[in-house]
């Protein structure tokens, strides 16, 4: 049903008259969005003052760049890469080595330009690897990207001089040339450096979607065969997209290197490539802003969930499966589906069924979490006894009671969801129909 609903949403979006191009209000509005974003970035540290929050926001900024660069491939050009961390990681390693060299030679180069160097490193490797991998699209591209990722990941363990082996390579960001008396020691200064680069990269990547090249990427994604018959080379479009995505991934990697002051083999690893895929997909690859939303959510969960449970990656995987099955458009897809309803002020029609659906989903979620955690305690953490704390309650995993309650919650919640789902779907299509008739009259 979600897909059908998504289509309806798309049709509404498409039937909306386009804003007159060149109108100064439209132009101002387009730039106003970035001004607002800049303001938000600037003010966030005033709202969230804790050290954890600052670190988290820094990581979110890095992940936003990384996920958006990944979406230049997946969302814009239709290239599924399993090895995007290669360009992120190599950008990070080159920057760390460059920083150490600059410190040694006492060169007058300030820290804020280092991400550019990371970008150039990412670009250079994207040119080398991309010239091989982008000759094919589809499955062949995905497999080659996986092979290259494995190649780089394994050489990171062999070439110890460059990759630093197990320990990795460390650096000291405070020892580069100072600008405006900032030494980038405090996290707040690093946050602003990341925020500035994040904003620049977001604007640049958004602008890229509005160029002839960006439109050709979409055309290659939609129909790679036809593009050749209108005079374009799909191979070249893919290659160019791959190079630019590599550049921005390198920038993100460089910022990560600056943030942590240490780079190790995990930067280029398959897990890092997997995380960016998850972030882009959960956020929604169909809209520019989707991967940024995904990056924020995934970073938040990575940090918060790993504090709460050891098996946070399992929940991550489950969440990914849920998105693929029920909301293939991701977070952005869901938001865009409801945007016309919000504009027409009929969103309240959905409140009751959505609350019901949300409640049912929460019940299933709680039940499933209890089962997963009980199993984990009994099967994996056998040495720690059977008594555990969950949602602030002390539970004995060996007793039948908790299992029974969890099973009832999961099954009951699932039944409720089955009842609430059609209600929500009906309410959505009714509201959509109301908007459409309203537009026609």
């Amino acid at each position: 049903m979600t897909e059908a609903a998504g289509q309806v949403g798309n049709q509404i979006a498409a039937s909306r008259p386009a804003a007159p191009a060149g109108s100064w209000i439209a132009a101002l509005w387009r730039h106003a969005i970035w001004l607002i974003a800049a303001l938000v970035f600037a003010c966030l540290p005033l709202l969230f003052r804790s050290g954890t929050a600052l670190t988290m926001m820094s990581l979110m900024g890095i992940m936003i760049i990384f996920a958006l660069s990944y979406n230049m491939l997946l969302g814009q050009t239709g290239l599924l890469s399993f090895g995007h961390a290669v360009y992120y990681g190599l950008g990070a390693f080159f920057v760390v080595h460059a920083m150490n060299a600059i410190i040694r030679a006492k060169l007058p180069i300030p820290l804020p330009v280092m991400p550019l160097l990371g970008g150039i490193a990412g670009l250079a490797f994207a040119i080398i690897f991309g010239s091989v991998s982008t000759r094919r699209g589809g499955t062949a591209f995905a497999m080659i990207s996986l092979g290259l990722a494995e190649l780089v990941a394994s050489s990171s363990l062999i070439l110890r001089g460059f990759f630093g082996g197990e320990e990795g390579i460390t650096t000291n960001r405070t020892r580069l040339l100072r600008v405006f008396d900032w030494n980038f020691g405090p996290q707040i200064q690093v946050y602003y450096l990341i925020a500035a680069w994040c904003l620049i990269c977001m604007i640049a990547m958004y602008a890229l979607t509005r160029t002839p090249f960006g439109r050709m990427c979409n055309a290659v994604r939609e129909n790679p065969e036809r593009i050749e018959f209108i005079g374009c080379s799909r191979t070249f479009v893919r290659f160019l997209a791959f190079c630019l995505a590599g550049f921005f991934a390198g920038v993100a990697g460089a910022l990560a290197a600056i943030n942590f002051e240490i780079v190790n083999a995990s930067y280029v690893g398959l897990q890092q490539s997997g995380i960016v895929l998850l972030a882009a997909y959960i956020g929604g690859t169909g809209h520019f802003i989707g991967p940024a939303l995904g990056a924020i959510l995934v970073t938040y969960l990575q940090i918060m969930l790993s504090d709460v449970t050891e098996i946070w990656q399992l929940y991550f995987g489950l969440m990914f499966i849920a998105v693929v099955m029920f909301a293939p458009g991701g977070l952005a897809g869901l938001l865009m589906m409801h945007a016309p309803l919000l504009r027409a002020r009929v969103l309240r029609l959905l409140a009751v069924p959505y609350v019901l659906l949300g409640a049912a989903a929460s019940i299933v979620g709680v039940g499933a979490i209890v089962i997963v955690e009980l199993t984990h305690r009994l099967v994996v953490k056998t040495t720690e006894g059977t008594v555990m704390h969950l949602f602030g309650i002390s539970i004995n995993a060996a007793a039948a009671g908790p299992w029974l309650i969890a099973a009832v919650l999961t099954a009951g919640g699932a039944l409720l969801m089955r009842a609430a789902w059609p209600m929500a779907a009906h309410a959505f299509s009714d509201a959509t129909a109301a908007v459409q008739t309203g537009e026609r009259s």
Partner: protein, 250 residues
């Protein structure tokens, strides 16, 4: 006689041991509307695939304006002024009608890969796209995703994508297939309009369309051209009647 816009010399194409095209020679003068007819499996679509660069001929030569382009890839053929449509609609389904045509316009422009021009700032591209959409009567559907157009509209868009780059030689593969009588009449009027001043080669099964539009007709049977002449004489040709039109036309 001036150089033909498109010339095929001794074209052969085989897949494994099966020869689909068995020596085709054709010359199409500039500005001609040329129809290729023939029974199913005669090799018409294969011939189009060879001419448009989708397939490479096993033997023979293809010349555009006298220049040998044998074995060139589709994008090179397009750059040299040859564009084709497809029998099975081949558009960009999730892009809007406007985007479909604009991409095709961009494809013929030097800045097609530019990532430093704003696509909306290219006035010349916008005007050309608008012009094409007016020409094929789809301007009212400009913001509709191509995938939700009606069949006849998609066929019109298919033609629009083909002509948008301004190619001098247009290959249309069964442009009216699957259309109702009325739709086909519209399509014929449209093709007549857009082929003005261009060289048109079309594969078509609908004989009324063929005899209505074509200046010359070539009959392809088992990979060979058995006749190539003006419509009146094709109608009267005994070999054609026997091989293709059958007893019904006799």
């Amino acid at each position: 006689m001036s150089t033909p816009a498109l010339e095929l010399v001794g074209i052969h194409k085989g897949f494994g041991r099966t020869e689909i095209i068995r020596g085709v020679d054709l010359a199409m003068p500039r500005g001609e509307r040329h129809a290729i007819i023939g029974p199913n499996g005669a090799g018409k679509s294969t011939l189009f695939n060879l001419v448009s660069g989708r397939l490479k001929p096993s033997a023979g030569a293809i010349r555009l304006d006298g220049v040998d382009v044998t074995g060139a890839r589709p994008q090179e053929m397009n750059r040299r002024g040859l564009a084709r449509s497809f029998q099975i609609t081949n558009i960009f389904p999730r892009l809007s009608v406007w985007e479909n045509v604009r991409c095709a316009v961009l494809g013929s422009r030097p800045y097609k890969y530019s990532f430093w021009h704003g696509v909306k700032s290219l006035a010349e591209v916008r005007e050309r796209t608008e012009h094409i959409l007016h020409e094929i009567n789809l301007i009212g559907r400009r913001d509709t995703p191509a995938g939700v157009l009606t069949y006849a509209e998609q066929r019109a868009l298919e033609i629009a994508i083909t002509i948008a780059g301004g190619a001098g030689i247009i290959l249309l593969d069964e442009p009216t297939a699957g259309m109702s009588r009325r739709e086909a009449e519209h399509a014929v009027a449209l093709i007549r309009k857009i082929s003005e001043g261009r060289t048109l080669v079309m594969i078509e099964h609908d004989m009324s369309v063929v005899f209505d539009l074509a200046d010359r007709i070539s009959v392809l049977v088992y990979g060979q051209v058995i006749a190539s002449d003006v419509p009146a004489r094709i109608k009267a040709n005994a070999a054609v009647q026997q091989a293709y039109l059958g007893t019904a036309a006799a």
